[in-house]
Symmetry: C2
Subunit: 518 residues, 2 copies
């Protein structure tokens, strides 16, 4: 078992994870980095084809030319979500090349990548460092990887690569459209996914970069979301993704009456605050409740004659409708969730692809997250101190990635609209199983049974006191929910085996995920 130390949040975190010394969380904004950014090797044009044609005939060939060796770190972006057809082929090729102990560093892993479990079992891949959803999360939860999972936010992934905490040897960048020089875009082509910017940091800092496409266009591929000047090889495959699983044909709002009520409360709450004014900004996810909140809010904006300067996406057809109607001036898009979002990014000059650098990187000269007036997020658990969890379930299993969630907490008003219980398990708990978001950054909890405002936000309490909304203390809300559910939820029992580490946005160790007793 790793040596543990208590951090500023009172959580025990390992001193060393996968051979890397950890800095324990020191409090929000307290850790001051002193180093310099990672310095990739200097290339020279003479080593690249003068005609710009970097195409090699297969993934295996490209990996060989990149000098693939055992122990290397291989990265990719997750813009293809559950429709990715590239990464299993990459690790199949690596297995054929006879390498072992690779570290896989995706921006997120998806259920379609379950075949990679075979390469984890055989030792071709030692461990996955990145957000784990579904089967790979379950695998890691069982302590089956050669080392704990390290979970970072989207901004934290940029920070880790930029600061040299994670060195990428070879980046694999699946690209819906590309030219032979390696310029690539995600906003068009049969596997269109919108933005490719989760792979931007990989393209900037990896030693070697491979673009993989099924839609080659003559130079220049425009827009060049990924710049060919950072790319070593281009591989052309018949099919790199399953379009239907990359983006939804259409995203849908919730139909659940409880969730619609939560969405309505959330929109009404926003409307009562001073932040809701001409030119305000907001970020909402693509979940049903968040989408419904946006719909309610759009109606209020029309009534009030108020326009938004920008909305941050995950973009969906609902945001696109608001943009094209003129309710929003700009969509600043982190990832594109449906076909309308992809079309809009391609067609609307006001629909911009942003990157984790512009939006989320804590180790930059500011980022967009703190400029956003309202952010609407989810959570698996919230506790009496407003601490929240998005990674583990109440049974202690690690099943979700952090995504941009931690980064968004820096918004001027962070709202978590959540059902008061799931499967009769209360969502408000005495203490979160896993600390992912420190309570001081979480302002409002909205449930179908009432709204709790963080006591630190006296301004919001004041602004909404005559709103007629069911505002309660979080303790009142908890008591009410426990009454319905028949008491507090059972606590999972853990072994002392570390299976995961939650990083804070500054790279410090925020919390530990232990293996659940079976």
């Amino acid at each position: 078992m790793s040596d543990l130390v208590k951090n500023a949040a009172g959580r025990k975190v390992p001193k060393v994870v996968n051979g890397v010394e950890q800095v324990p969380f020191q409090g929000v904004g307290k850790f001051k980095p002193t180093g310099r950014k990672a310095a990739p090797p200097v290339s020279q044009c003479g080593d690249y084809p003068a005609d710009g044609d970097k195409i090699v005939k297969s993934l295996k060939e490209a990996l060989k030319k990149c000098g693939l060796k055992s122990g290397m770190t291989i990265s990719n972006h997750h813009h293809f979500r559950n429709g990715d057809k590239v990464m299993t082929q990459v690790f199949d090729a690596a297995a054929e090349l006879g390498v072992k102990d690779l570290v896989w560093f995706p921006s997120a892993a998806f259920p379609c990548q379950e075949p990679i479990v075979e390469h984890l079992d055989s030792g071709v891949v030692a461990r996955v460092e990145g957000s784990l959803n579904g089967p790979l999360g379950a695998y890691a939860s069982q302590g089956k990887m050669a080392g704990p999972a390290v979970l970072r936010s989207h901004g934290g992934r940029w920070q880790a690569v930029q600061d040299g905490e994670v060195h990428i040897d070879i980046a694999i960048l699946p690209a819906p459209t590309a030219d032979s020089f390696g310029n690539a875009t995600g906003d068009r082509g049969p596997s269109a996914c919108g933005s490719l910017n989760f792979g931007l940091v990989d393209s900037l800092y990896a030693d070697k970069v491979i673009v993989v496409t099924d839609n080659l266009v003559p130079f220049p591929c425009v827009p060049w979301q990924i710049q060919g000047n950072n790319v070593d090889y281009v591989v052309l495959l018949d099919e790199i993704g399953d379009p239907a699983k990359i983006v939804s044909g259409t995203t849908e709002i919730t139909k659940s009456p409880d969730r619609l009520l939560i969405a309505e409360y959330t929109a009404k709450f926003i409307r009562c605050t001073e932040g809701y004014r001409e030119g305000f900004s907001m970020q909402a996810g693509a979940g049903g409740t968040a989408l419904s909140t946006a719909i309610f809010l759009a109606e209020m904006m029309r009534e009030d004659g108020i326009k938004s300067r920008f909305m941050r996406g995950g973009s969906t057809k609902y945001l696109v409708q608001m943009l094209e109607e003129g309710l929003i001036e700009y969509i600043l898009d982190g990832q594109t969730f449906d076909l309308e979002g992809v079309r809009s990014m391609r067609e609307n000059p006001g629909h911009l692809a942003t990157s984790p650098f512009t939006s989320y990187n804590w180790h930059g000269k500011g980022n967009f997250a703190s400029l956003v007036d309202f952010v609407v997020l989810g959570a698996t658990e919230v506790d009496l101190n407003f601490n929240a969890n998005v990674v583990t379930h109440s049974d202690g299993r690690m099943l979700h990635g952090i995504g941009g969630w931690q980064n968004c907490l820096f918004s001027k008003c962070t709202i978590l609209p959540i059902p008061s219980f799931r499967d009769r398990i209360p969502v408000i708990v005495d203490e979160v199983t896993t600390l992912v978001g420190p309570g001081e950054l979480i302002d409002v909890i909205v449930t179908e049974r009432g709204i709790a405002i963080n006591p630190l936000r006296k301004d919001l309490i004041e602004q909404t006191k005559d709103s007629g909304l069911p505002i309660k203390t979080i303790a009142e809300l908890q008591a009410e929910i426990e009454e319905i559910c028949g008491g507090k939820p059972a606590k999972p029992e853990f072994t002392d085996e570390v299976v995961g580490l939650i990083k804070w946005v500054d790279g410090t160790a925020l919390d530990t995920i232990f293996r659940v007793k079976s």
Copy 2:
């Protein structure tokens, strides 16, 4: 006097310049860099305003906050050309703050910045490292700076900063439009200049970055050619430039019959080669002859039903007309020369701002320059080995910058359309006064008296042999010109004082400029 060593081009170059050890030129493509890129310090958002407002009240205040100290390097882009109103104010403020021995590292200096000579005389500025035009060039030619001028191409400037040869302490980025977060664009606003990308490398690698604007817009400023996430402070001034001197109201083609003939020969030559085909590409400057070449070529393209996939700019109204007519699919624009170019960059999705990184940086994984079928450039001198000079005049004075000239030589066909003599001084000489472009990269010389093809380009000689064009050897051409001018030009006499160093695109020392005997 510095210690000199003979390089692979047979030129004597100093071993050390301004305290920095030099690698002598080793031949085109021969120098293999082994280092890693420069690593800027890691910042953190907690040190920047959460509301994104980075405005400080004056240039002086911004310089103080950046920790301006004697000996620091201050950089800026030259997109405001002869209309810049910011940089003299910067050095005035530095003088008021009592610092000395600054190094000024502009991407180019212009006559309007002549007042900075006062700060060179007083020792506030020790020397200028960058392309010097006009009065500052003359000043440096007289050996008045505390150290030689170091002249680099646009791509070489990126390479030098990227590779850590030049460390920028404070970058000053004048911006026609910006938001308070520091996002900035050049394509709109009263001082619109088109692209800001000569300042991109400064924004990425400088320790501190100051954006200076006279046109503040609410966040987000779109497009963000400069990303606010790299910016420390924003300064708002009443007026940052003189619009009439930033871009021409309109660029004009040549009216000189000789130059029109040269332009026509050039276009006809291109038409005879295999490179002239559907989808070909070209780069031509904004000089009268180059513009006229483009006009002749456009007419031929219409006749032949041929379209260009992309043209590289310097963009002008002539390129924009071709784009909007559909003769060109894309303009890949390095700098914008007239108002129509600025409008087009703002309005046409096919008119893209490129940077010295994408276009020219030799220490990247390829760049655009070698993908271009034809490049049309100028020269002050060409010699019998096709070596060319763009920096010094035949009298030995250093009067021009290198610009993108060296970088463009990597095109598939480099053509220099030049008058055979200027002021009765022949342009073809036995040996160039200053070597700026190695002859092996220069393919064709076009004069009003004939065309000389580099003997290395047997393919071009073959393709054009039945063209009816006046193709001659360069020696024949030289003899003919000397006949008219009454012999070879007088050679300037030099002292052994080094006043300038010509860098090759890979950072090696290509040639030395010595002080002319007065």
